[in-house]
């Protein structure tokens, strides 16, 4: 089966997490915690989604003085559309009885 873009487990997890919170802006550390992805995996994904026009980003001033502005992310309209599409096909969670053994 040819690899579809943004279809890796990590990309899907990131898109699903971003979709949940859409249109709120999320920062990198929060996304790492929510998806379980390490920064080394997360940021290349964020960069790629941004290049593909699926992700918007912006700087926001820190809430407390003395801290630098922080980068925040959310899905663009195109990103929301893709994430929704992936979620439709994720009806995998409509488990009737998840795998067990009738032993």
């Amino acid at each position: 089966m040819p690899r579809r873009p943004n279809n890796s487990r990590q990309a899907r997890a990131l898109l699903a997490t971003l979709l949940e919170q859409s249109p709120l802006w999320r920062h990198g550390y929060g996304l790492a915690k929510a998806t379980g992805l390490k920064s080394g995996t997360l940021y290349p994904l964020l960069m790629r989604l941004s290049e593909q026009g699926l992700l918007e980003s912006r700087w926001q001033d820190a809430e407390r003085p003395g801290l630098p502005p922080r980068h925040f992310y959310r899905l663009s309209a195109a990103g929301v559309a893709l994430a929704c599409e992936q979620k439709q096909s994720d009806a995998a969670a409509d488990l009737i009885i998840p795998p067990g053994v009738l032993a």
């Binding site: 550390y29 390490k38 940021y43 009737i96 998840p98 795998p99 009738l102 032993a103």
Partner: protein
């Protein structure tokens, strides 16, 4: 200690700066973004891990522009210094996360408090517990006792590596069945070898008990709720109740997941003094087995994966796998003269049965000892029963009759089917363990409720979003890439939950040492379903390097539908 942590923080900052240097100029904003997150991460170890990740991210991005890598890295002394820095940082990160395992694996023998024992079987069983940390990130903070039973063969080859049996579910009890397994199954799975049964954390006789009343409460949903919508809502409430119960009992779902179970099994192996073992994994157990194979391949001689359940994302939805198995049943009925005569259009009968139950659910009284005195059978509950029956060849054989009985609203005929299915439902899993493990393992379960649309009506159990307000995903289960361990994957063509595409996907990633054998006319649990499947397991465990003789597969008969 403080000096060390201060040093960690400075190293993290240096690593983040290096990452910024490595990233191509057009990504400068991203470099800043990653670096600045450090200011918001209070824990120094977490900050170092973050910074190491930034270095990895920057090299990942850099390496996608290959021409420039050589110039910057190898012609520039700062580049070489950067590589050394990366190695140093990674080494320190490993040290900093406190990996020294001070946990001493030990098997504590106990008497076998198990059902169905007889003197000859008792003589072959060795029962006990192995203690593991509750939370591997905080090994000092509490332990769990796992139930372990070692079944000795009637005749033992002292050189032979034992077989570890990994059960499904997640959460299906195993050690409690030791006597039955010793009588009827151990010779197949572990001829002349020890067979090791382990109840994974949260399952069976192992600690902790996770919402022990949950299955009965879920059965109650079918007994009391009248409409599919009410049943679905009530089902979700049972999980919310479990969530509260775990919180009250101080049980943290983050202790669970396939990756935790795999670490437990490594402790069990060492506790039993086993240098190398084989694995027979069944259903969810295959997910544990393949993760173990990815992480500890040197501990494995051979692995059998029976009815393969891969990590997320699954290539097919549950709705799809169920529909395919049901279609296979209809097809089998058309091809079977006596079934075709009795049920000229079984698919239509099923559709009409579902429509009838949707219009007016059928309330069935059940005999004492059934677990509930009545069941309100609507279309979704009936479909759940059909799904359970599809797992299992003897039940599958009777499914046309069960569908006809639902169509005819023949309560008397339906009763024994349902009583049997309810017994299966009540005894084969710990749904509390199942939900925490699946939520930890599968990011796909985090998403908000989807409007999934099975062709024959809404699903009864909408698991979407159950995890979202409760349990964050943890480190995922794994499929080994290009495994060096001989691996046999068995899959039934009409399996309603783990069909052949799953096994093929896993085998493709595993590479040349993995072999898939697909069984026609077989559903879930190949080794139990057909003697041919059993013989292949025995053959493979005996000689995992030899070519597998699959001649008997062609002889597997279609289910004799009644």
């Amino acid at each position: 200690m403080n000096t060390l942590l201060g040093w960690l923080r400075r190293l993290a900052v240096k690593a983040a700066r290096h990452a910024s240097w490595v990233l191509p100029a057009e990504y400068a904003a991203w470099a800043d973004a990653m670096h600045r997150e450090l200011h918001y991460i209070e824990d120094d170890r977490a900050a170092l891990r973050w910074a190491v990740g930034c270095v990895v991210a920057s090299y990942t991005k850099r390496l996608s522009v290959p021409r420039q890598v050589c110039a910057r890295l190898f012609l520039n002394p700062a580049g070489a210094a950067g590589m050394l820095m990366l190695v140093l940082v990674l080494a320190l990160a490993g040290h900093a996360s406190g990996q020294t395992d001070t946990f001493v694996p030990a098997f504590k023998e106990t008497t076998c408090a198990l059902p169905d024992l007889s003197p000859d079987i008792s003589a072959r069983l060795r029962c006990g517990t192995v203690t593991v940390p509750r939370d591997y990130d905080h090994p000092g903070a509490g332990t769990l006792k796992l139930a372990v039973v070692v079944i000795h063969p009637r005749v033992k080859d002292p050189q032979a590596a034992p077989v570890l049996f990994l059960q499904g579910g997640p959460g299906s009890p195993l050690t409690i069945h030791a006597a039955r397994i010793a009588r009827y199954e151990s010779a197949t799975l572990a001829r002349n070898r020890d067979l090791i049964l382990v109840d994974q954390r949260g399952a069976g006789r192992s600690e902790p008990a996770l919402c022990p009343g949950l299955r009965r409460q879920q059965l109650g949903v079918f007994a009391h709720e009248d409409s599919p919508d009410e049943q679905r809502a009530a089902w979700r409430v049972t999980y919310r109740d479990c969530q509260r119960e775990l919180a009250r009992n101080g049980i943290d779902p983050a202790w669970f997941g396939t990756r935790m179970s795999v670490r437990d099994l490594e402790i069990v192996r060492r506790a039993l003094g086993v240098p190398r073992w084989n694995i027979y994994g069944r259903s969810y157990g295959t997910e544990v087995a393949m993760t173990l194979e990815a992480l500890y391949p040197s501990t494995l001689r051979a692995v059998v994966l029976d009815s393969v359940y891969p990590p997320d994302p699954l290539p097919l939805t549950r709705t799809q796998t169920f529909a395919a198995a049901l279609d296979a049943l209809f097809q089998a009925c058309r091809s079977d003269p006596s079934c075709a005569a009795a049920h000229p259009d079984l698919a239509a009968t099923y559709r009409e049965a579902m429509a009838g139950l949707a219009e007016t659910p059928l309330t069935l009284a059940l005999p004492p000892g059934s677990g509930t005195s009545k069941i309100v059978l609507g279309p979704a509950a009936f479909r759940a029963g059909v799904d359970l029956a599809l797992y299992d060849r003897p039940l599958l054989a009777m499914l046309p009759r069960m569908i006809q009985a639902a169509h005819d609203r023949d309560a008397a005929s339906l009763q024994p089917f349902l009583a049997h299915l309810i017994q299966q439902f009540l005894t084969t899993e710990s749904p509390g363990d199942q939900i925490v493990v699946e939520c930890r393992d599968r990011p796909s379960l985090q998403a908000l409720p989807a409007k999934s649309k099975p062709v024959d009506g809404p699903g009864i159990i909408d698991m979407h979003g159950i995890c979202r307000d409760w349990i964050a995903p943890g480190p995922p289960a794994l499929i080994p890439t290009a495994t060096g361990v001989p691996t046999l994957l068995l899959t039934g063509a009409i399996d309603p939950v783990t069909p052949p595409p799953f096994a093929r996907m896993v085998a493709a990633k595993m590479g040349a040492r993995a072999h898939v054998v697909e069984f026609p006319h077989v559903g879930h649990d190949v080794e139990l379903s057909t003697p041919c499947g059993a013989s292949l397991v025995t053959q493979f465990i005996r000689s995992p390097e030899a070519p597998i003789n699959t001649a008997c597969v062609a002889e597997v008969r279609p289910v004799a539908l009644r």
